[in-house]
């Protein structure tokens, strides 16, 4: 049996490949025709080849569970997601604009605090944030950039337009899976790459290295850049190792680094060797037991002071997470106008702040229609999807919101767009989001596309890999 687009139906949701039964959208037409030329068994055969490639390539992530930590093979769906180049160019400008404004905001927060004085954002909302680091006051990182690496989550609503769901400014992960997905797709569908003009994504590791090298305190041609990982049991260890390898940087753990006279060194077989830039993949609070959590065994004692003195660069800078907060998120369009004097190119999802009395009332009255998010959780944890929640859960969230309104915001349930996935028997629609990665130092870069995450369960909106989500290769396809 062949793939039949006439029986493919995404219902009321916006599908990115199929506009109406039997009719593919223009950029996806070649792909749709190609898929329709294959039988389902041929597609399943390709899926098996992809699964084998993933196993061989050792693409994995770790799932924490009661039964211990399991290193799982990366979940991947073989049908690529297609976005038109024209649309992406516009989105990409919006992403760069956003990160520039966010960096202005972080730098302002830790220095002049003009945006509070001008009453654009209430000061207490920021300094009360769990991600605000008072130790960072008065520090000026190179280029005024605090968040060098940003992963912004985008979704497409019923209108087919991208909306920003959140900005991840602490230690966003996923970029290695984006790169590996492409490598797997090339193995599985080499013939498709001949027919399409697909934007390459391979330059990311080089751009990341350039970004990190640009912030090195010692300006030399060969700055010592390291990737600091919490270790092999971290869920993103694969990515840490992957990026270090692709950049030709050392992958270090806390125990490999030592601070002497406020300079950071790594222990090598030749003795101590000075480090210029640390791409740290551990949270602020674990970074330095002398400054933050005293019980942290993952961090490097004294590294914060070394950074304050300008002897080492940290990416992202400690305290950058202050803008990675679902409450501050609602102010990003205002920041863009305030700092850049521009109109936002990418819209936010409409949001309600529970800290505001009027908006809180609206949220409490419409809990069963809204999605409630805590300010600082990630990975989809601690949120409530109103329309799918039980009475008991709704009551519990009402209680939590009243007890700590600063910590909650609400958004209408946005109907995520769908794309086809290969099911056991048919090709079926599933909901997706998109995480592009944006780099900023002396220059700004945006990945061509990003990591597409798929809710593999029918009807589900939960795309997180830690909760059963899958992923897809994402193609930015030109007209030619």
């Amino acid at each position: 049996m062949r793939v039949n687009w006439k029986t493919y139906n995404s219902g009321k949701f916006f599908d990115e490949i199929i506009a109406s039964p039997g009719h593919a959208r223009k950029p996806a037409r070649r792909l749709a025709n190609y898929l329709a030329s294959l039988t389902h068994d041929q597609l399943l055969e390709k899926k098996r080849a992809a699964d084998l490639a993933i196993k061989t390539m050792g693409i994995s992530f770790t799932v924490y569970s009661d039964a211990g930590n399991i290193d799982r093979e990366w979940p991947y769906d073989i049908i690529p997601r297609i976005i038109a180049a024209k649309e992406w160019d516009q989105t990409s400008l919006g992403l760069q604009q956003r990160l520039r404004a966010l960096n202005c905001f972080i730098n302002d927060t830790y220095n002049d605090q003009k945006i509070f004085k001008d009453k654009i954002i209430p000061r207490e909302l920021v300094v009360d944030s769990a991600n605000f680091r008072k130790q960072c006051m008065g520090i000026n990182p190179r280029f005024g950039v605090w968040a060098h690496i940003c992963g912004t989550d985008l979704i497409k609503g019923d209108d087919g337009q991208f909306y920003v769901l959140e900005d991840n400014l602490r230690v966003p992960s996923g970029v290695s899976y984006m790169l590996e997905n492409r490598r797997v797709t090339k193995r599985v569908f080499p013939e498709l790459f001949e027919k399409h003009s697909i934007r390459p994504i391979t330059e990311y590791p080089a751009q990341l290295f350039d970004t990190l090298a640009a912030i090195s305190p010692r300006q030399s041609d060969y700055p010592e850049v390291v990737v600091l990982t919490p270790g092999v049991y971290n869920s993103a260890y694969f990515e840490h190792s992957f990026l270090a390898q692709r950049m030709g940087a050392e992958l270090v753990e806390g125990g490999d680094l030592v601070v002497e006279k406020d300079k950071v060194y790594m222990r090598t077989i030749d003795g101590l060797s000075q480090v210029d830039v640390v791409y740290r993949r551990i949270d602020d609070l674990f970074l330095d037991p002398k400054t933050f959590r005293k019980d942290s065994a993952l961090g490097v004692p004294g590294i914060f002071k070394s950074w304050v003195k300008g002897n080492v660069a940290l990416a992202n800078a400690p305290g950058a997470g202050v803008a990675d907060d679902k409450i501050i998120y609602t102010y990003v369009p205002a920041m863009i106008k305030y700092y850049l004097g521009e109109e936002p190119l990418l819209p936010n999802v409409p949001s309600y702040l529970c800290v505001d009395k009027v908006q809180r009332q609206h949220v409490l009255e419409n809990l069963d229609k809204l999605v409630i998010k805590p300010a600082n959780e990630s990975g989809g944890y601690g949120m409530l999807i109103g329309p799918q929640a039980s009475k008991k859960e709704l009551a519990e969230f009402a209680r939590r919101i009243k007890a700590d309104p600063r910590n909650y915001m609400a958004q209408p349930l946005i109907s995520l767009s769908t794309v086809p996935i290969l099911g056991e028997r048919v090709v079926e629609p599933r909901h997706v989001d998109l995480r592009p990665f944006i780099l900023q130092a002396d220059k700004t870069h945006v990945t061509a596309g990003g990591l597409t995450r798929v809710a593999m369960i029918k009807g589900s909106f939960v795309v997180n890999s830690s909760q059963g989500g899958g992923s897809k290769d994402t193609w930015i396809v030109g007209d030619s």
């Binding site: 196993k55 061989t56 390539m57 050792g58 092999v232 190792s241 992957f242 270090a244 390898q245 940087a249 050392e250 992958l251 270090v252 753990e253 125990g255 490999d256 790594m266 222990r267 090598t268 077989i269 030749d270 003795g271």
Partner: protein, 315 residues
């Protein structure tokens, strides 16, 4: 190179070499046992003793029969089973894959998955033979890949250190088996010697085989297979890669390229001198046990020197 990375690369190479040696040992000894006369002291249990894990074995199993020994050495969750050795190889490769060639990790990963998926079905008979052959051949591929694609820098130096030290260690363990006077008394007087001889030859031939040394022995010793010559070859030959002397010479040569090498180099030279000066004829009469035991301690001390000089301090 980071000290931690050096340590992991070293262990990855040691474990890979150990996996290959274990596979070959199991393969050779399975056929050897079929050829020996009833009453021989060489038994399935000897295999456990070679790997130095008899105490662990005894806590788990009552009987050292083929099935138990194979289960223990192939797939049990113990320190030295083939499967755990491969799992350790993989874990060390996984944590150094930003340094090692990408394909090396992919092949090690594949090898581990192959072993994990097939070990249980390969405990006996023809399937075991095929399984072990496949493991050995994969190990060769991986060593070849590293030899052919790694620059001769610090990373490759630690690969060679790990591999060579494991080889020196394995040579001494295997000789230990052969010199153990394992054959039963058959016949009397001159007849006794004549009756024993073919079995002794079989035993020594297989000891050579378990270190892939049979063919090279024939070419270079040009003498019939006998205990004294075999022990001399496996301990003192400087050209055969799995002979103890060659392994120690390799370590000496590698050390020259590493910083702060004095302590380790001194210990290697000392060990090599002990191997070279051993009077095999006399040692065979007075018993090799003590000599080999001392040698193994010297080899362990080489490891200690390497760890102290280049690896992360264990706090």
């Amino acid at each position: 190179m980071l000290s931690r990375v050096a340590e992991r690369i070293y262990w990855q190479a040691r474990y890979l070499e150990r996996a290959e040696n274990t596979a070959r040992l199991l393969s050779v000894f399975s056929t050897l046992l079929l050829d020996l006369p009833p009453g021989t002291k060489l038994s399935w249990r000897s295999l456990v003793e070679i790997t130095g894990t008899d105490k662990v074995f005894d806590t788990k199993y009552k009987q050292a029969n083929e099935r138990n020994v194979m289960r223990f050495l192939l797939l049990d969750n113990e320190v030295s089973s083939l499967l755990t050795t491969l799992a350790s190889t993989r874990e060390n490769a996984r944590t150094t894959r930003e340094i090692m060639p990408l394909e090396a990790f992919e092949q090690i990963n594949d090898l581990y998955h192959y072993a994990r998926d097939n070990a249980a079905a390969s405990l006996s008979g023809g399937s075991r033979h095929r399984f072990l052959e496949e493991i050995i051949s994969c190990c060769h591929e991986i060593s070849g890949l590293m030899a052919g694609s790694m620059s001769r820098g610090a990373a490759y130096s630690f690969v060679r250190l790990g591999r060579s030290l494991e080889r020196a260690d394995m040579a001494t363990r295997i000789i230990d088996v052969g010199s153990g006077n394992l054959l039963p008394e058959i016949g009397t007087g001159k007849k006794r010697q004549e009756a024993k001889e073919p079995y002794e030859n079989t035993l020594w031939m297989n000891i050579l085989r378990s270190l892939t040394a049979y063919q090279m022995y024939r070419q270079h010793v040009k003498h019939r297979v006998n205990g004294e010559d075999v022990v001399r070859f496996l301990l003192q030959d400087d050209d055969f890669p799995r002979a103890a002397t060659h392994a120690l010479t390799t370590i000496s040569k590698v050390l020259v390229h590493l910083p702060n090498n004095t302590k380790a180099a001194k210990q290697v030279n000392k060990t090599r001198a002990i191997v070279q000066r051993g009077d095999i004829n006399q040692l065979l009469e007075s018993g090799l046990f003590q000599y080999l035991d001392d040698l193994q301690i010297e080899i362990a001390t080489i490891h200690g020197c390497i760890a102290d000089t280049w690896f992360l301090p264990h706090i």
